[in-house]
Amino acid sequence: MTVKSWFPHPWLSLLLLVVWQLLMNGVSAGSLIMGAVLGLLIPILTHLFWPDPPRVHRPLVFMGFGFRVLSDILMANFEVAKLILGPSRRLQPAFVVYPLDLRHEFSISLLATTVSLTPGTVSADVSQDHRSLLIHGLDVPDERELINTIKQRYEKPLMEVFECSRT
């Protein structure tokens, strides 16, 4: 029995612990103990379903990424609201094929999620070989710019957080 089999997803365990505190709507000794127990038990129970968990290398960068996404969401919301309320004739929708540098499944899906969460873009599909992402944009005057923005703002930090060893 290795540590790994007893503690297969450290980050997941942490996440679960936090979620439990949120669920209990407060932190107490009882909730911490229970959260810890569950945070240990559930990953053991379910790790077979998640054979290839991601490794987080730079948690701080990740947090920064998180805040950036949140603020982007806020801004994009207003922009898109304008687009929606304006005449839809002027909109320039587009399908954009976005070439992926990320390789790990989890980070790719994280990127796709991010793209979808920021209004104005929706990641429609991931190619079979996981090399490109199909994005639909509500109003895309310039595809290249969109790709660049995503690369810079989202893919790069994710690369740092999850896949720095490889690059």
Binding site: L23, N25, G26, S88, P93, P119, G120
Partner: protein, 109 residues
């Protein structure tokens, strides 16, 4: 209840509801499926997000400090993109109509 918080809650509420409404309006108004797909993201993100925040503030002010409403947003952030992607894939499979000026092609699977 302190009025500052009250005002803040009210603002958040209105903001959230407004965005939810705009999202649904987009869903109703936009001309093709792929464009309509963008509407609900407003509702999920800012719409529900602000409402949840308002709720957290509101109940905290009432004395029930707690952040558990945030979990709603957490889960929505996880699930909404997935369903959007699934729907887009489905739409591509069934070849729904899209406006002609759309640049690029959805790829054939």
């Amino acid at each position: 209840m302190e009025s500052a918080i009250e005002w803040l809650v009210a603002a958040l509420l209105l903001l959230g509801s407004l965005f939810a409404l705009i999202g649904s309006f987009g869903l109703y108004k936009l001309p093709d499926f792929y464009m309509r797909l963008h509407g609900p993201t407003k509702a999920t993100t800012l719409g529900v997000g602000s409402l949840v925040l308002a709720s957290v503030l509101y109940f905290s002010a009432e004395g029930e400090v707690g952040l558990h409403e945030l979990l709603i947003t957490l889960f929505l952030f996880m699930t909404a993109p997935t369903s959007a992607s699934m729907l887009a894939k489905a739409a591509m499979q069934v070849h729904v109509q899209r406006v002609e000026r759309t640049k690029g092609q959805p790829w054939e699977q």
